[in-house]
Amino acid sequence: MWNWFFQLASPKWFYTIARKVTPWLSVLMYSLMLAGLVLGLIFSPADYQQGNTVRIMYIHIPAAYMSMMIYVIMAVAGAIGLVWRMKMAHIVSVSCASIGAMFTALALLTGAIWGKPTWGTYWVWDARLTSELILLFLYLGFMALHSAYDDKKAADKASAVLALVGVVNIPIIHFSVEWWNTLHQGATLSKLEKPSMDTSMLWPLLIMIVAFKLYFVVTLFHKIRGEILLREKQASWVKKLVADSKQ
């Protein structure tokens, strides 16, 4: 039952699987991305209040979701690494950071730009915006801490501790719109209730959300493979792989 878990823990196994899977995932990602863009930019209607600016939603919301999801993944992987001393978990955790930071920055930037036509200002200091900014700082702190250590193992553990501590910020971001009355929109997508959105806008949004997730997985796999190579440089399979690739 735990077999797959231990297999996952083997960098070599992960490397080969990731290499096999990524092309397929990439194809899926490209097609979903394209479909989402075409539907969102061309076929979906403008909002009766916001006009065409609503099209920013199709990238803002997926990016914002990803920024939070990736942080949780990073923290959970870090925790697994700390508790079970699993190499692979740390590799995942570390590889997540820069992708997550990018999505956080994108959510902030697209949100800020969207704010100008809708709220009349690029930036207000409301709870959700602020907590998202804090999330960016947490990502940056994670990366800075990891690069400040000379020893990779110590760096992994230290940054995992930081990721775990920072996880408290995630519920704050999510519930901020409920806890404080703010400018920012409340939840539009919820599993329990029927979405309040028109299907012609809902579909492109959902497709983009899935496409962004796939993008994350594909990019993560690339990053992980690079990282595995560096860390397993003493393993014979890596030596062989490097030697083969030279010819």
């Binding site: 700390l82 602020t130 804090i134 700082f137 947490l138 940056l140 702190g141 800075a144 801490l145 400040a148 250590y149 020893d151 110590a154 553990k157 230290a158 501790v161 930081l162 775990l164 501590v165 920072g166 408290v168 910020n169 704050i172």
Partner: protein, 221 residues
């Protein structure tokens, strides 16, 4: 518990050995708060308006500054590893050091805050609430700060990296602390904010010592 007392006593006697040292964080606090009338505006109404925020930001920075002095030398001269080797648990060490840190840095802030409040034109009620909020909030700052300093203590320029790691975690305390004072100063209900501060304190008392102890062991290697 015996060891807790011992570590606290030792910390305090190191600090009080040069008797003037415990006034520094205080002095920093006073200095930063008095920079604002100079830098922003000397007008009383405006001052009272920015006072809660300024008091909290200053408290936060002065606690942040004190962390280094409290932890770094223990790492460098090897006395932390000696305590661990004497079988004292990491989280107990952290708890004791954070407590000593609060006694030396946090408590004086709490006591001096009302005076600063008067200088910044804060009225009595808000002033008392500011003190209360600081009393509940500053221990959490010491505990959370302990995590950050233990993660960064082995690194050069750790001081600034520390800030980067710790300030985001301080911000919720800052927000609720400042908004409690603000609510009090305009006569609104402030008990909600104080309750959240208390909840944060309990949470950090339960979790921070373990996280910081883990960080400490990583840094010692």
């Amino acid at each position: 518990m015996k060891n807790f007392n011992r570590i606290v006593t030792r910390e305090l006697s190191v600090v009080f050995r040069s008797q003037s040292e415990f006034v520094y964080p205080l002095a920093f606090f006073i200095m930063v708060t008095s920079m604002f009338p100079l830098a922003v505006t000397p007008e009383p109404a405006q001052l009272a308006f920015i006072a809660p925020g300024v008091i909290w930001v200053a408290a936060l920075l002065s606690l942040l500054l004190s962390l280094n002095a409290f932890y770094q030398s223990d790492f460098q001269d090897g006395s932390l590893e000696q305590m661990l080797l004497a079988g004292v648990s990491g989280s107990l060490i952290i708890l004791a050091k954070a407590f000593a840190n609060w006694i030396v840095t946090g408590l004086p802030l709490v006591l001096i805050a009302p005076i600063i409040g008067v200088l910044l034109n804060l009225e009595l009620q808000a002033n008392m609430i500011a003190m209360l909020a600081l009393l509940i909030g500053t221990p959490s700052l010491c505990l959370i700060g302990a995590i950050g300093i233990n993660l960064t203590v082995g690194l050069r320029n750790g001081g600034v990296l520390l800030t980067l790691l710790v300030l985001p975690l301080f911000i919720p305390i800052l927000i609720f602390g400042a908004s409690a004072v603000e609510a009090a100063s305009i006569g609104k209900n402030y008990s909600g904010q104080l309750a959240i501060l208390a909840a944060i304190l309990i949470l950090s008392l339960m979790l921070a010592p373990f996280a910081a102890a883990a960080a400490m062991k990583i840094s010692i290697d």
